[in-house]
Amino acid sequence: MPCKGLVPEVERYMTESINEKRRFGMRVFRVLILALFIFSIVVTPALAKDTIKIGAILAVTGPASFLGAPEAKTLQMLAEEINSQGGINGKKIELIIKDSGASPEKAISFAKQLIEEEKVFAIIGPSTSGETLKIKNICEKSKTICISCAAAELIVNPVAKYVFKTPQKDSFAARKIYMQMQKMGIKRIGVVVGNTGFGKAGKAQLEKLAPEYGIEIVISEVYDKKATDLTALVTKLKAKNVEAVVNWSIVPAQAIIAKNMKQIGLNVPLFQSHGFGNIKYVKAAGAAAEGIIFPAGRLLVADMLPDNHPQKPVLIKYKRDYESRYHEEASTFGGHAYDAFMILVNAIKKAGFDKEKVRDAIENMKGFVGTGGIFNFSPQDHNGLDIDSFEMLTVKNGKFVLLENK
């Protein structure tokens, strides 16, 4: 015991006086020794098993739980399914899900933990752009594959060798919306976004691309992600005589804005982003959701796709599996995790258990059919989706349907 030599010191010190403070100091000393003892027991290295470890950093709870929770559920479901079929190339998957609560500092800590300690093969997630941007460099430096479930284009631009993402690019969503507006002859619009990473990125794209489509943004506002009533905000929109409103967020306020617009009699078309791809928001908005137009992946309208659509079998299977297991409707967010996981699994099946080869396999993957679209990766494009991965949808009788252009 290295501390033994100090004990006489301590004792001498103890006998000098017996005031309360010193005894407390003694206690601190013993607690420290105890802590050291426990610590040395705790830090025994884990035994290696013949599994492949896949880490996931997801915001299962906290402000972005509507992303992280379905993502985590999806991953658990997929890992079990693959393991019950004997794993990948004979190795079972060991899935390690870390709940970051959407805090970047935790995502950083977890990323380092997964990479250095668990020595995971790859990381899926994080759920939010802010977290992904924080761990982008960590993954890049440690040569760990990271497939993010977050939207921001900054994740794959500049391209980092080891960082990929599965959600469609924001710019495609913005373009889709503007193309639809051109068809409808809309020129003056109002843009409102929630103060999340998703909203921030969307606002930037909308503002950047508007001139290209001859559209003028007359007002652009950011509201709080926990906003509970936006009457005052839509009143402001009404005063500007906008011809349409674009709302870009992933928070419940998507439903609130729809209601408030109808209530104050602002009867212009409401466009939402692909963040609206969750039937819960339609239910929350009730009658006010009718007629909302938004771009989204095809998961939401899987049943309505023509039978020869390449994505249809994948979408139907994911939707059925998820819904029968968790008794809630599948959302496109869970789909992002599905894509990330399946891309990784397919790359491993093809390239074996060598990280570099798997990375190359992902980068060169073509024609992978996922829930978000058909992925065609390349060294310049670590997202792999094109604008056709979006479909314009609308809400009719409380359900998502394909938008029919007259």
Binding site: R27, V28, S109
Partner: protein, 360 residues
Amino acid sequence: MRGRYLHITLLSIFVVAVQVITQITDTTYYLTQLTMAAYYSLVILGLTLLMGYAGQISLGHAGFFAIGGYTSAVLTTYNLIPYKEKAIVKVMASMGMLQMREDLYGGQILNLHPWIAFLLAIAITVAVAYVIGIPVLKLKGHYLAMATLGFGIIIYRIVLGTPLFGEADGISDVPAFGLLPGIEVSGDMSMRIQNYYIAWVIVIVAVLLLLNLIDSRVGRALRAIHGAEDAADAMGVNTAEYKLKTFILSAVFAATAGVFLTHFNGGIGPSEASVMKSVRYVAIVAAGGMASIWGALTMAAVLNFLSLRGYFGSYDDAVFGAILIVIMLFAPEGILRLPVMKNIQRLLRFKPSEGSDGAS
């Protein structure tokens, strides 16, 4: 040897011992979270001085952490290359206030040297703490709690609503902080052991500073304020001034932690400024026993370490909420002073108990 130096020596030995153990057992990765926990401990040490010794609650300390972290992050990531030809930039460059670096993707970045950013961050923190502190510290009880909470919320809102601070995404790609040639605060894996020692040396220096302060005239004045502010005032203690200075000092602790952790993590996000973070700091100070530097330090290091490693899983916030309630209900003096703890300690004794610990 005087008491506090003995404790400091023990703490230092402990810090070294932990590193040696991780080295021997090949588990050096624990040092990452221990380093992060050290910086959070620094915030908590400052808050202990304010809450435990001066008796002033602050539900806004995450705000000061964020001021430090964000100031440094903005100043060290703002690329000055487009202004390279401007006179002021040239002057700053010639004075060695700037540094040139290359990011992972080959882009050139010219930014302010982290030392300058650090000093500016501290200066801003002192200024804000001064301006806020004068009116806030006149308040008591619920009003003080609410005012500090309000301050924290305003900082959070500003950080979340301002494009300069990256809004919801926060700031990424913050460079390493070269303290001295060869010594830098960075999250790089090869720097892990060095950074562990940087962080804990800062904590040890902070503890030393606090212990000296508490034993000095200032400390006695603070305790007098805590006990009975009006009486202290009547006795000629300048309570307002002491409270303000303590407030500023604890804010500087928080901001320093913010700066260093931001460089260590390579980024900062709005979650660092959130109310929940401030509540967490208060929870840990309470768990440590309010007026106990050692208790607070132990709790801060242990709880943050566990939380950062994800041991609490999805119940992270619930754990801190439960700690707050349980401690305040059953052990308002802190865990280390519970009878149970004494029994545990008795088991570890090196010599028979003198058995009169009841006073606490």
